[in-house]
């Protein structure tokens, strides 16, 4: 490969300055001329029929422009299952469902008018656990489920309220269990959590009364997919819809699909052409946008005495909440690799995505992998304990390596898992006695004085697929000043894509990074991109931008050929110039090439598209596929923790995270992604949980009681980049966005179990849960969420 000039270098983010100075304009900041302000009325009932809505008083309130209910917005939408109304129709299915909305001259007026809307409900039985919701005899949360339009890969199955049943069948698990020396069965639980992006949700919408054109300003992570969904819902051709994407203040999966957009669009049809802004506050964001799937996971394994895995059976109940959203695909892509990155001859997985009367669950950084890993990786440690084997040794015996045939029928390549396992565990001095920096607790003496502090180590491995197949298109423009504009539909959600894609364009056109600019994202202007999700952008859009830049470069060289009087001589690019390979002094700045050929206003445009082609679709009966994913991301994280036995408080002393990224296009950004993932994963391990009471109400919809980590809660973080190149990826790159948090809770769970000698099967590991686990161990008791370590 040619010498890389910018790719692989730890350059500073191209958007750093505008963000740290506060110049950057996010969706939440956006103010449009003549804008009206929208507010919604949310359902106070988890499951109820709407008997009557009275909006008269609200309509009379001075300053109100429009008051609408489901009748005024008779549309439904949904990515994989079209089940969700813009505003509740006839019934409500969770506390927080938008029932009516008001547009007014200001936000306070809109809010005041919302309070005047009267709704009469008739209660229906409600379900708050995915296991309960799909028991025989449960009443359906969606009576008309059968008639909904669905993607053709959806397999609802026969149980009530199940919107997807994923099956994986490999070998014969019963045979595997019979052949095993040890059979271990456990149950794990992961509660509902939320993305908690710093910028809450907001959307602006405008409907032009004459042309019928709908314009939506929203920091959506997949504007083209959202455009498609709106177009299908409204029955409007895609040309009539335009998405303009301001900057996004974090999304983590929460800002795809349609959330607040539907309310804004519904209102915009009643404001005579004026744009409407609907901005959720934090509480509304908590109750009425999106959550991560809670998961009840049953796992059973058969193992040989030497640690070889013989069989694994898993049943996963994914709590979808009131609407399907992305639940079917979370269920598929989360259940499929849930048995872990291991060679297992006999595997049986049943994943059920079940409707409940809780807030809607959907995509969340990691897409089902963290839940599966919480169960699988702790289960692996339990197996190791039972076999009296070192957990690292147990993993090494079974983990995926190059050339393995994975249990879903795919031959694996570029597997950097083993290297991540070795490096991550080495970084916390695995195998050495609980050593921790003396400064942390005041050295030996302090430890002696603090018998209540128990130290433990643990780690966890994961592999993660990406959404496949998908397409990214890109354009690269070169003007007569030699400046580059990249047209790419990847959304800057804070992950650093504008830096990565700028580096790719700069690399291929051989210009300095400051010559490259990312065009703002507007679906009228920017070529199609599937989504900024699934850790897919560096790979897919990286490939598209790379190819578009090569296309532009080749056009420039073709143009430069007569200018440099080159006949058959080879041309090359370097430092913003085209030159003859044999006579480097014969060089022209690329801007001059454009100007001489096309004039001062000339632009040379390169275009490209990248799609990863899969062989066969997923087999719906066996879950098998010979190419389930364009690439796989592998990671191991390891933690050393201190647990205060008198309080149950867990402190993480240090944590390493080794990630196989294929090729680090920007090592600085990779390290930041890993650290950001760790911080998020640590929050979900130690305190994050949306407390939803027995009536379906979220009890902690604020950052006061929903505990994200603060900087002081974070340990020493050791990011480790492993590069096992993916041949198809740009410069060998894979993805990194999601895995940062996926093994984190399981690694911490294993470290806590190591420290206190008790396995805790429910998240989060908050002080109270850990405290009672220790108390019960002392009392020699056990409960449904505890299993005593032998």
């Amino acid at each position: 490969m040619e010498q890389l000039t910018i790719v692989g270098k730890p350059v500073t983010r191209v958007d750093a300055e505008e963000k740290v100075t506060g110049e950057a304009v996010y969706g939440y900041d956006l103010v449009l001329p003549d804008m009206l302000y929208g507010k919604a009325l949310f359902s106070p009932k988890p499951h109820a029929r709407i008997k009557r809505i009275n909006t008269e008083e609200a309509k009379q309130y001075p300053g109100v422009v429009a008051v609408i209910t489901g009748k005024d917005a008779p549309w439904t939408h949904g990515e994989s299952i079209k089940d969700k109304p813009f505003l509740a129709q006839d019934k409500v299915r969770y506390i927080g469902e938008p029932v009516a909305a008001v547009a007014a001259m200001d936000e306070d007026t809109a809010q005041a008018a919302v309070r005047l809307i009267e709704v009469e409900y008739e209660d229906l039985p409600a379900y708050f656990s995915p296991e309960e919701a799909c028991k025989p005899g449960a009443i359906p949360i969606h009576e008309n489920f059968a008639s909904y339009r669905k993607f053709d890969f959806i397999v609802p199955g026969s149980m009530p309220n199940v919107c997807e049943h994923f099956k994986l069948r490999t070998g014969d698990v019963e045979k595997g269990f019979r052949e095993a020396d040890l059979v271990l069965e456990e149950r794990y639980y992961v509660p509902v959590i939320q993305h908690a992006a710093i910028e809450p949700h907001s959307s602006h919408a405008q409907v032009d009364p004459e042309s019928g054109r709908v314009t939506i300003w929203v920091a959506n992570d997949a504007p083209f997919r959202a455009l498609h969904e709106i177009s299908e819902a409204l029955g409007l051709s895609q040309e009539k819809i335009r998405f303009i994407n301001p900057l996004q203040g974090g999304g983590f999966g929460s800002k795809g699909g349609l959330k607040v957009e539907t309310i804004a669009v519904a209102l915009a049809y009643h404001t005579k052409g004026k744009p409407v802004r609907v901005k959720f506050n934090r509480e509304e964001t908590f109750i009425s946008t999106l959550t991560r799937h809670e998961a009840v996971i049953h796992i059973k394994s058969g193992v040989k005495q030497d640690g070889t895995l013989a069989a694994r059976q898993m049943t996963l109940y994914w709590g979808a909440g009131a609407y399907a959203e992305k639940s079917p695909t979370v269920c598929i892509r989360g259940s499929l690799p849930a048995p872990g990155p291991y060679r297992i001859p006999h595997v049986r997985v049943d994943g059920y995505a079940a409707y409940t009367n809780k807030p809607v669950a959907g995509s969340f950084r990691g897409y089902g992998i963290p839940q599966g890993a919480w169960a699988c990786e702790q289960h692996m440690d339990e197996i190791a304990k039972k076999l009296r084997m070192d957990p690292v040794e147990l993993r090494l015996k079974n983990i995926f390596v190059d050339g393995d045939l994975a249990y879903w029928g795919e031959q694996l390549h570029s597997v950097g898992l083993k290297e991540t396992l070795i490096k991550a565990t080495q970084a916390i001095e695995w195998g050495k006695p609980p050593g921790f920096p003396a400064s942390q607790l005041g050295g030996e003496e302090a430890r002696r004085l603090k018998p209540n502090i128990k130290i433990g180590k643990g780690f966890a491995c994961i592999s993660k697929p990406t959404r496949t197949p998908t397409t990214s298109k890109a354009g690269v423009l070169v003007n007569s000043k030699g400046e580059i504009t990249v047209l790419a539909g990847t959304v800057e959600i804070g992950q650093g894509c504008s830096t990565i894609l700028s580096q790719v364009a700069a690399e291929e056109l051989k210009v300095p990074l400051d010559k490259v600019r990312m065009a703002p994202l507007d679906t009228d202007m920017i070529p199609f991109d599937a989504s900024t999700t699934s850790s897919r952008s560096t790979y897919h859009m990286g490939n598209a931008v790379r190819r578009a830049a090569i296309d532009a470069r080749e056009k420039l060289m073709e143009m430069a050929r007569p200018m440099l009087e080159a006949k058959n001589e080879e041309l090359a690019c370097s430092n913003g110039k085209v030159y003859l390979k044999d006579q480097p002094q014969m060089a022209l700045p690329i801007g001059d090439v454009v100007r001489r050929k096309l004039g001062n206003d000339g632009i040379v445009r390169g275009d490209a598209s990248y799609t990863y082609e899969i062989g066969k679709d997923l087999d719906l009966e066996t879950g098998h596929s010979d190419h389930a994913s364009a690439f796989y991301m592998y990671a191991t994280q390891a933690a050393e923790v201190a647990v205060d036995e008198e309080t149950g408080r867990v402190r993480i002393l240090r944590m390493s995270a080794a990630h196989d990224v294929g090729k680090a296009i920007n090592p600085l950004n990779c390290a930041a992604q890993i650290e950001g993932g760790l911080a998020m994963g640590i929050g979900s391990a130690l305190h994050e949980e949306m407390v939803i009471d027995s009536q379906g109400k979220v009890r902690n919809p604020s950052f006061l009681d929903y505990h994200l980590v603060t900087s002081l809660d974070l340990p020493e973080m050791i990011p480790i980049i492993v590069e096992c190149p993916e041949p198809e990826g740009p410069y060998g790159a894979k993805g990194l966005g999601e895995p940062g948090l996926a093994p984190t809770p399981a690694a911490i769970g294993n470290a806590v179990a190591d420290a206190i000698g008790v396995r805790i099967c429910d998240l989060p590991l908050n002080p109270e849960r850990v405290y009672w686990a220790i108390q019960q161990k002392r009392a020699k008791g056990s409960s449904r969420w505890l299993t005593e370590v032998a």
Partner: protein, 305 residues
């Protein structure tokens, strides 16, 4: 339907004037100090006061002063941040400075006032236990004059105090203390910062001689009863005794028995009760270990473990 009148805000120039406004306007008004509770209650929790009386224009309502008799006056509008960094408080009562430092974030502490925090009477207020163990008094004024109450009598319940609607808390007074007084405040919460206390424990202790006989001890608890409370039965365990770890543990058990925690979204009453025991013991041991002077964050954190 008529739009509501805009919220009426008064900015009196004296305590008497402020009190007179309330007398005249009647019940349903609110005093505004730092606003860190009130503004959020209005904007996000649906509180709709009839009117607001902003006290920030009243002169001489803020500042910390040591009086000739050794008592210390913290005027009501003194911010948490001022208490946290006051050299005087750090020198004499480092645990009080520490308890102020536990409140919210620096930005919040720059706005939030000690008086506002006391008048709001939140059971989990961090400075309340520290002030209780110093036997602080509340100075209350109105157009009709001034009265002084012990802080213990001042708190009546969550959000409730002994004050009449037209009365204003003007200062907290810490009476003269024993020169050998040492103390501690431990806030126990799941997060390291920007959190509410699950349990707060403050200690003020005077130990005599080499044998460490306890001449006096005061223990106060936050977040585990309707008001911040003194744990008198726990105090009785140690009072006049020779201080030992066993006694500290016994005092913790006693404190756990006499507190009255509730279960809420943060934790169960049983867990809070257990933590009162553990934290009371730790706070007593820390206080007895005598660490005078300001305490850095890292050490403050360590001391909870």
């Amino acid at each position: 339907m008529k739009r509501p009148e805009p919220l009426e805000i008064f900015q009196p120039a004296s305590v008497e004037e402020a009190s007179a406004i309330v007398k005249e306007k009647g019940p349903g008004g609110r005093f505004l100090a730092g606003g860190t509770d009130l503004i959020i209650a209005i904007k996000e929790k649906g509180l709709a006061p009839k009117y607001v009386v902003d006290l920030k224009r009243v002169p001489n309502l803020s500042g910390i002063r040591e009086e000739a008799d050794g008592s210390l006056t913290i005027r009501a509008l003194t911010t948490m941040r001022e208490v946290e960094i006051s050299p005087l408080i750090r020198k004499r009562f480092p645990f009080l400075a520490q308890s102020a430092a536990e409140v919210g974030s620096i930005q919040i502490r720059n706005r939030a006032t000690v008086g506002g925090n006391m008048a709001n009477a939140t059971p989990s207020a961090d400075v309340a236990p520290s002030l209780l163990v110093l036997e602080a008094r509340a100075k209350i004024a109105s157009a009709g004059g001034e009265r002084v109450l012990s802080l213990e009598e001042f708190f009546h319940g969550p959000g409730q105090t002994a004050m009449l609607p037209e009365e204003i808390l003007t200062a907290i007074v810490i009476p003269p203390t024993h020169p050998k007084l040492v103390g501690e405040y431990i806030k126990f919460s799941p997060r390291e910062m920007m959190d509410l206390a699950y349990v707060g424990v403050a200690i003020a202790l005077v130990l005599n001689g080499k044998e460490k006989r306890c001449e006096s001890v005061r223990i106060a608890l936050g977040a585990v009863s309707p008001t911040p409370m003194r744990a008198r039965k726990a105090e009785a365990v140690i009072e006049k005794q020779i201080f030992t770890e066993e006694l500290a543990e016994k005092a913790g058990e006693e404190a756990a028995k006499e507190c009255k925690p509730i279960s809420d979204v943060r934790s169960s009453a049983e867990y809070r009760r257990a933590m009162v025991g553990t934290m009371t013991k730790r706070a007593l041991l820390n206080a007895a270990a005598q660490r005078p002077g300001p305490v850095p964050w890292v050490e403050r954190r360590e001391r909870r473990y």
